[in-house]
Amino acid sequence: MGCPCEIQLYARSRYDALAAFVQAEAEVHRLDRKYSHYRDDSELQRIQKKAAQTGGVEVDHETAALLDYAQTQFEISGGLFDITTRALSALWHRVEELPNEQQIQTALKQTGWHRLDWDGQRLTAPVGLSLDLGGVVKEYAADRVAGILQTMGFESGYVDLGGDLHFIGPHPDGRRWQTGIWHPGGGKRAIASIEVRSGGLASSGDYERYSEIDGKRYGHIINPETGWPVSGLAGVSVLAPSCLVAGSVTTLAMLAGVDDGLSLLYESGLSWLAIHSDFRVEGTL
């Protein structure tokens, strides 16, 4: 997954713990191989190529469910949360100078879920438009691994896939897990420490992936309407029943700008933490 992954578990024996790690690792690799856009042999690349051909491509159940989910994200965000912004992300990925307007316009033409034809089974996409499941697969993987561990009988522990977490259950004595939220100013220090019992925790912010040009930070979350990185909240963390939903809500809150982002969080009914650009912390977590 291209990020540090960690699993903490209370197991009866070393052997049980090892068996769990093997299964967990296998699942993470499976999803990575299937949905990576860095691998030429991934299922996602195959789907992408076939989707651009006449008649499109019929996808498997898991991919269909992910695309359905992506469609929901697109619809409820009024088009802001779009998994087809790969051209835009590539344009802004660790750039050293600002892209020019023409580059942005070209990338915008290769963007837009509404340009896809998705009927729940078959996907047809225009040439050049590529899917980026990066915003859902890592979160989904954290949930999957937690689900597998739960099915194996583990009740205490958590899965951390590079900041996307799923807490299976508290310590055996009932204590909650303590986890830190990184300071957006960098320097690997925590801005807040929170306690979690169970559920999915996802964070998003310009402290993870960003480009700094002329002293200004440009985050990795791009508004698909303007083609520019959003300048809203500096960071958002959300605790939800699943990491997948937590991740979607953090991204939505980042995309929406400060005011709309905060009202989305306040209304969400979830526990959350928002970090303003002046590092003020607000929220219910």
Binding site: H61, E62, A64, A65, L66, D68, Y69, Q71, T72, Q73, E75, I76, G120, Y140, D143, R144, A146, G147, I148, Q150, T151, M152, G153, E155, S156, G169, P170, G174, S198, G199, A240, P241, S242, L244, V245, S248, V249, L252, L264, E267, S268, G269, L270, S271
Partner: protein, 390 residues
């Protein structure tokens, strides 16, 4: 976590289509709650043109129900239920033939009775399985029941299917009031053993189908000690077979409407027993959230059953097999009930109210019948419920 916004709700619903997601979310410990529910059940009086003798006022039942759901730890959940019911009114005895059509004889004096019930269950969630064991006890002055049950649930590895199974046993003792004065049986026993198997399948992100079958075997004194029959000018006690095997098949379809956030719920139930009663129930409900806090759910239910061979409103000759019953609940009839439910939900508590009107009639039976059953009942039911989240 409470009252999820429409956004979060849509995301959660949409994610349920992913393999394992439903199972993962179902493993969360249930909400801890205390419930109180009041139900007022009121049967309409028997129309005077159908009454031969006795008091036309029928049953009125007030019931108070408490329920506590408490998680003992991450895997164990305890549930405690208490019920108190107060019943009053008169009940149908037997049916007299009359040139104008059969007439109902009701019990004369008003019956007043109380029932108390307690049940306790423990549920354990582990490795994708949920096991629940329950025991219960119910007592009224002429009836005592002890029962125990087990039920299990298991999610499939893809999380799209849930299997459920269960079994229960009930041991009942009857000691009818005024047995000697009315020539009723003084003491009797009956028991009941049942098993069930069910499956819930996620069809797509908006539809869930649930289907189950169950088989119940009753044995012992299955007649109603308070019911009688008219057989050629003689009045005899109700007499039914002492064994009964019942089969039911239930299917429920729940369809979630994304745009209105409403849910359409359709239930069908088929019933058949070896007394040769066949019954069908069809219910359609629409659950509509109104804003964040309110929900309204109208529903309509249709029921139809056909009578067993030994049933008749009255008898001209003594049946040779020794079985007879004029209990209106065994007649061929159909019924329609209309319900309206309103719910209001806040972070720490929720309130709901429901009203139901039930109307039964021979002419509503699917099979059609020419028989007149004067005892068929119409009733109103009002339910008020308050739930506190701990």
């Amino acid at each position: 976590m409470y009252r999820l916004s429409k956004t979060v709700h849509s995301l959660l619903m949409s994610s349920l289509g992913l393999p394992g997601m439903q199972q993962l979310l179902a493993q969360e410990a249930p909400e801890e709650t205390i419930d109180y529910r009041y139900t007022h059940y009121d049967e309409e009086p028997l129309p005077l043109d159908k009454l031969a003798d006795g008091d036309p006022r029928r049953y009125e039942i007030d019931s108070h129900q408490f329920r506590l759901v408490k998680n003992l730890n991450e895997t164990w959940t305890l549930e405690l239920g208490l019920l108190h019911e107060a019943m009053s009114g008169s009940s149908p005895w037997y049916v007299l033939p009359d040139p104008s059509g059969p007439l109902q004889v009701m019990s004369g004096a008003t019956i007043r009775e109380n029932r108390n019930q307690a049940d306790l269950s423990f549920a354990r969630r582990k490795n994708g399985y949920t096991h629940k064991t329950a025991i219960g006890y119910s007592i009224e002055n002429d009836y005592e029941a002890r029962y125990a049950s087990y039920s299990g649930e298991k999610d499939s590895s893809d999380g799209l299917r849930t299997w459920s199974w269960g079994g229960s046993y009930s041991d009942d003792k009857l000691s009818p009031t005024d047995a000697l004065n009315f020539g009723r049986i003084e003491h009797a026993v009956r028991d009941s053993l049942s098993g069930s198997l069910g499956m819930t399948q996620v069809v797509n992100r908006n539809a869930v189908i649930q289907s189950s079958i169950s088989l119940t075997r009753q044995s012992g004194f299955l007649s109603d000690p308070y019911k009688q029959v008219w057989i050629n000018n003689a009045v005899l006690n109700d007499s039914r077979p002492d064994r009964r095997v019942m089969f039911t098949w239930t299917t429920r379809l729940r369809h979630y409407m994304e745009h209105s956030r409403a849910a359409l719920i359709m239930d069908y139930r088929f019933f058949r027993d070896d007394w040769e009663i066949t019954a069908h129930t069809l219910e359609v409900a629409w659950r509509q959230p109104l804003g964040h806090d309110w929900e309204i759910a109208p529903s309509i239910r249709y029921y139809s059953q056909s009578a067993p061979d030994f049933y008749a409103p009255f008898y001209v000759e003594l049946p040779q097999d020794g079985y007879w019953s004029s209990d209106y609940r065994l007649a061929t009839f159909g019924a329609l009930s209309y319900r309206l439910h309103i719910g209001f939900r806040q972070e720490k508590w929720s309130f709901s109210a429901g009203v139901e009107y039930y109307n039964s009639d021979e002419s509503l039976a699917l099979s059609g019948t020419t028989e007149n059953t004067p005892g068929l009942v119409d009733f109103w039911r009002l339910t008020l419920a308050l739930k506190l989240r701990l």
